[in-house]
């Protein structure tokens, strides 16, 4: 699960757009092209240059990717893995609304105890849908752990 966070890319890119425009403008002046009609074309290249740099920084620092299967999950932010684990380590899952009103997923080992937040608001999934799916994984894990004991008891 992932999604390009456009507002973050824009915030990273804008300083580089401005910087590129200043550099291009200085080059145009140095080569005596500042009075020509083509200067707008040259200056507009500041946008692709700035956005390319901004996007590269975004991908390295802030792009969030949540990968999971029925056994485990991992959260990668930028180039770093910030969380990883197995569903079987957790017992409860909830949707938690952060201070900016964004819904994320919270995994509990015990209710009101240790927990881990998965930043699903930075992906394109619907919170209720993914919460229900994760709840299914937790319940499956629980039943898988319980069944061998039941067999032994029988």
């Amino acid at each position: 699960m992932t999604k390009t966070q456009v507002s973050v890319v824009v915030s990273y890119s804008m300083p580089f757009v401005l910087l590129s425009a200043i550099v291009i403008n200085n080059l145009l002046q140095a080569y005596g092209l500042s009075g020509t009609p083509s200067r707008l074309v040259f200056l507009s290249t500041a946008f692709p240059i700035g956005f390319s740099i901004g996007r590269a920084i975004y991908l390295r620092w802030s792009h969030t990717l949540i990968a999971f299967d029925s056994q485990s999950f991992s959260v990668v932010k930028g180039s770093k893995e910030i969380a990883t684990g197995f569903w079987r380590s957790y017992r409860f899952v909830s949707i938690i609304i952060d201070r900016y009103g964004r819904p994320n997923l919270r995994l509990y080992k015990s209710i009101d105890g240790d927990h881990l937040d998965l930043p699903i608001s930075r992906t394109n999934v619907r919170p209720q849908k993914i919460r229900d799916r994760v709840q299914g994984f937790l319940e499956t894990e629980k039943s898988q752990r319980v069944s061998p004991r039941a067999v032994e008891a029988a």
């Binding site: 409860f92 899952v93 909830s94 949707i95 938690i96 609304i97 201070r99 009103g101 819904p103 919270r106 919170p127 209720q128 849908k129 919460r131 229900d132 799916r133 709840q135």
Partner: protein, 176 residues
């Protein structure tokens, strides 16, 4: 998967509204559990918890910090599906929530019970006469869209602020 896109369960629709901040004028519900099992084994289709002081931004945040009390509150939903809501079951649920409220020091709580069956007159009478101020009660029939609210401020807020009738697809609340 529980939710079906074309015909979502009333609890799903109600929860979606709460996640989007429908309760913000009365409480800031920040955490939502589904199929929540209490210590005594009772399962609630939806359990939401939060506080009366909302977070906000700048002015609303300052207002909240200076004026609003920071009480803990919770909301419980039960989906009886095709079962008729019985008086004994409802009383048991109320007792459980009263106990949870005491344990978790909740200032107030909401209990909303959904059923596909019509609401029995005895239930309607019981709920509409319920006036303890710590618990707001509502029973709703998803087929007839009938909603009965308890006769207290918290109960009335279920329609006024939480807009329960919207989740049922109805236009307005019909009190018995």
């Amino acid at each position: 998967m529980r939710a079906v896109e074309e015909d979502p369960l009333p609890v799903d629709a109600f929860e979606r509204g709460l996640i989007r901040g429908r309760a913000r004028w009365i409480a800031d519900l920040t955490e939502f559990f589904r199929d929540y099992r209490t210590d005594d084994g009772t399962i609630f289709s939806l359990y939401a918890r939060g506080r009366t002081r909302n977070s906000g931004f700048l002015i609303s945040r300052f207002f909240a910090w200076t004026v609003l009390p920071n009480y803990s509150v919770a909301l419980f939903c039960v989906d009886e599906e095709d079962r008729i809501i019985g008086l004994e079951t409802l009383r048991n649920r109320i007792d459980q929530i009263t106990r949870i409220s005491k344990d978790n020091e909740l200032q107030w709580a909401w209990l909303i019970v959904f059923s596909r069956k019509n609401i029995q007159p005895s239930i309607a009478s019981y709920v509409s006469r319920y006036d303890k101020r710590e618990l707001g009660l509502a029973v709703a029939s998803t087929s007839s869209k009938q909603i009965v609210l308890s006769n207290n401020q918290i109960g009335k807020s279920i329609e006024k602020h939480l807009r329960l009738s919207k989740s049922l697809g109805g236009e307005e609340t019909r009190n018995v």
